[in-house]
Symmetry: C2
Amino acid sequence: MTEHVSLALSAAERSCRSKGLALTPVRKRVLQLLLESQAPVKAYDLLAALKPGGGAQPPTVYRALDFLTRAGLVHRIEALNAYTACLHADGHGSAELYICEDCGQVEERHRKISGEAGPGGFLISRSVIEHYGRCSDCASAQASA
Amino acid sequence: MTEHVSLALSAAERSCRSKGLALTPVRKRVLQLLLESQAPVKAYDLLAALKPGGGAQPPTVYRALDFLTRAGLVHRIEALNAYTACLHADGHGSAELYICEDCGQVEERHRKISGEAGPGGFLISRSVIEHYGRCSDCASAQASA
DNA sequence: CTCCGGGATGTTATATTGTTGCGCCAAGGG
DNA sequence: CCCTTGGCGCAACAATATAACATCCCGGAG
Ligand SMILES: [Zn+2]
Ligand SMILES: [Zn+2]
Ligand SMILES: [Zn+2]
Ligand SMILES: [Zn+2]
């Protein structure tokens, strides 16, 4: 396990403990898999990665993902049906994601939490913001090709 | 068929003709169903609504939706797996959507087309922006309750 | 200690959403 | 006429997600 993964995992444990949430083995394992991946991961790929150590079924991974997203440790990428570990291990609510369609890497910016107003008095409680394109690495690689 | 629906349909026809696209009967019917709905519609609900006039299969509706979204006449709502007719019958690329979680109504704002730059030189080609909350009607209804 | 209750997980089955592949046909250009 | 092209019918299937119920564990009340 690389350095940054174990760091993120212990940060997640602290964060959960402080909120009275239980970061159980399954949940921790799912989070670890997401942290180790350089790109978003699909639920059934997580499921397959869990299989070796006991035959996991879909509900197992979906429940873990549900917990982790509620805890703010993981973000769901709506347009890809995929999941990515939050880059700010402290959990922060809503995020603005930049997803490279070339290498799959995800960058993330914080978003102010809900409560904003939209047009015509619309009251926002949650936003989904996903930008697709090329990260700077892939853009320059393509330019030089 | 209400006034605004038939108006939007003819606008769509003109728009397609001008771009050399074929707004065939199936596609037109799907667009009409979306226009008539006050809330986003799911693919299989469209499918069911098409059945009466000939047994439609999934590919039929998905192909029509694909065409309509490409033509900019329909927007897919990623977080709901649902579709809504574009409120600007001219087709305009990407949109910013405000979806009321109470009544289902969708408001829409134009977005400048892609090409924007994100953080660290990220080059955006497409954005998904969906805000969930309460429209002003539902917010005031709830306040008075 | 014992019993109970809630949370987490296992297990089975099913629901929902979306795609592939093939063949037919009608329109249009040579 | 022949050939290509795009649109659609059709059958099967793949991928994503949830429902419903059983079991286990653990900590607190009695
Ligand atoms: Zn985050
Ligand atoms: Zn990249
Ligand atoms: Zn629009
Ligand atoms: Zn509303």
